[in-house]
Amino acid sequence: MQSSTSLTAEQITRDLLPQKFGRRGKIWVAILVTLCLIGAFAYYRQLRYGLVVTHMRDYVSWGIYISNFVFFVAISLVGSLITAIFRLANVKWSTPLTRIAEIIALSAIVFASLIIIVDMGRPERFMNLFLHGRIQSPILWDVIVISTYFFISALLLYFPLLPDFKILLQFKEKTGKMLNRLYRFQGSFWKGTKDQFRISDRSINILCIVIIPVAFCIHTVTSWLFATTYRPGWDSTNFGAYFISGAFLVGAGGVVVAMYVFRRAYHLEKYITEMHFEKMGRMVVLLALLYLYFNVNEYLVPAFKMKKPEEEHLTQLFAGEYAPLFWFAILVGMLLPILILLFKKGRKPLPVFIAGVMVVIGAWFKRYLIVTPTLLHPLLPMQNVPDSFKHYFPSWEEWAIAMGSLAGALLIITLFARIYPIIPIHETITEKNEQNENK
């Protein structure tokens, strides 16, 4: 294999230009579109017949939709982790991963917003949140902070794309007329002058600084939606840090999965190397240990005291109805990835990918466990209520909408990679040049 430092600018450009979908790419897109359409049909049914098509009732009023929302919010943190923190820390090896991280963050935050609207019984009243919202309510804080994070993520995606537009515009024949027109609209003004670079670099630095507290806010506020409510399982001062550590883990897990897929699909082995998997593997194991630590705090301390309201909730998680799911989330979402990634052989691309998939799946079920069992254990006993109020398993409409939203997020990432370079071309060339000069 050719050494990455010996690559020429021409070769880098050729390798990293957006590529048309192959057969597998088209099948992948078709599957995602189908899932989205099924989700859209299920949502049409929900709009027509009301939330009664879901299995959410008086007690479980936050079901799979809100679990999905928390999952999307969590995975969106990855943008600030890879792009902002690594950039500010001058971590050069992360360059090929920044755009992957940012598009995951942006697509996740878009669907986090949409899934909240899906959860509303009367979505046409969404604007009332802004027109009549009470700033005392953590729900309004969440609405504000999600919109803010969306704009910052979009800017953080757009600014580093500007130098790439100049390169993309030079390959009209390869990219096609339609895309060329899009590139011209979005970045034909970029000439690569010294002043433009100066303003752009400064803006990216500002964004990197701003996005970190905003990202912390979005996860803390989302955790406060639960923690400001006096309920078993949510009544915790630990929740902000617990959510942020979990978000870092699932975000990093999402990135390693995407790294592996893009590397294989677009033959990017020269750019996303084994070194990247080695370093990201270490990152994931550190974050998994951190999240495990918070989990121990979150469950073991209340379990030690076993206060009466907490007892039923915790018993259900540890040894009751939710025990299989709970131990699956702990084992697959944390313990097994730690075991795989602790060893050097486990930090090769395929094991890291498998560990990443485990982390993401475990994280999704973990969010479900945070939301639903608590709602089924209110402080006052459930009396004289229909049996359907006492249990919750999502209806097919809920599953279809949730899967449709996940497919939608993946579709955005897929289409983005079709239109734009998934690894920054200009930045990669600059870094290779710097490496060559330093030799």
Partner: protein, 294 residues
């Protein structure tokens, strides 16, 4: 011989013991109990309250979803008060329909008959209750600052309303749960020969509505002849209740959006303005970059 006598004794004892054990094993057959009560509220609203029970030993269990037919004076279809079904607590109310006015007016004493449906004993009366038509009135007096409540009970007898003596009743203030707080020192009062019971009102600092109104009431409960009677009268004898709006009039987390605490407003708006002004600045930088390239 002695041995055979002894064997007979043992066998007899065993048979008796076996019978006794079997008798204990057989569950006691539950007995159906139906009660009927008559209510007359404010001399204008009359209804019956039927309760169905299943009695096993000393234990009473309400019987839900049991159907009954209630008649006035005779079990002919023309005298049907209504077909009713008990609720989960074994209770059901039956209103006396206007169509039975002529039957009601024809006599001073009436008997309500209750027949159980689907029991196979439709012709048998499950229970019956006889009442004499009566009315209750309430009045107040204020002599030298001493307030009193007077209630009179009359019954309809041979075309005339005549006072009823020796009727025990409660006199006082109607609570929200429909019970009566005695207005004087006694728990109950009894009518004299003129059919009147009087209580000196001593609860003079009770909270009323915003104008100080409270509701006085007199009630006769489960009288064998008259049933249950209740009469109410609003009077201005309470202490006016001033609504305390100060709780919602302060700046706090639980109030409306117009009463947000200042500290929260300052923090929330500072953060929002700080972040959004940065975003606007960066958008402005984009325009600068664009200007430099065109």
């Amino acid at each position: 011989m002695k041995t055979s006598k002894f064997l007979v004794l043992i066998v007899s004892f065993l048979i008796a013991f076996h019978s006794a054990v079997n008798a204990q094993d057989e569950p006691a057959k539950p007995k159906q109990v139906v009660t009927l009560r008559y209510f007359n509220e404010n001399n204008s609203f009359q209804y019956l309250l039927l309760q169905s029970w299943s009695k096993t030993g000393k234990k009473l269990e309400p019987v839900a979803n049991k159907a009954f037919q209630v008649y006035l004076d005779s079990n002919s279809s023309a005298n049907l008060v209504g077909k009713v079904q008990t609720d989960n607590e074994g209770k059901v109310k039956a209103l006396i329909p206007a169509g039975l006015k002529s039957v009601w007016d024809s006599a001073s004493t009436h008997t309500f008959l209750v027949m159980a449906e689907g029991s196979g004993k439709e012709d048998e009366t499950a229970t019956e209750f006889t009442i004499t038509k009566s009315k209750i009135t309430i009045d107040t007096t204020n002599q030298d600052g001493v307030r009193s409540i007077a209630a009179s009970v009359m019954k309809f007898d041979q075309g005339n309303w005549v006072p009823v003596a020796n009727v025990e009743m409660k006199l006082g203030v109607l609570r929200m749960d429909k019970s009566i707080l005695s207005g004087g020192d006694e728990a109950t009062y009894t009518t004299d020969s003129t059919g009147i019971a009087t209580a000196e009102f001593k609860k003079d600092s009770l909270p009323g509505d915003s104008k100080g109104n409270i509701i006085l009431a007199a009630s006769v409960e489960d009288n064998d002849e008259l049933g249950n009677l209740l009469i109410e009268k609003p009077v201005n004898w309470g202490v006016p209740l001033k609504e305390d709006k100060s709780f919602f009039d302060q700046r706090a987390l639980w109030t409306t959006r117009f009463k947000t605490p200042y500290w929260l407003l300052i923090i929330a708006y500072s953060i929002s303005i700080g972040v959004w002004s940065t975003i606007l600045y960066l958008v402005f930088q984009l325009f600068r970059i664009k200007k430099l390239g065109t």
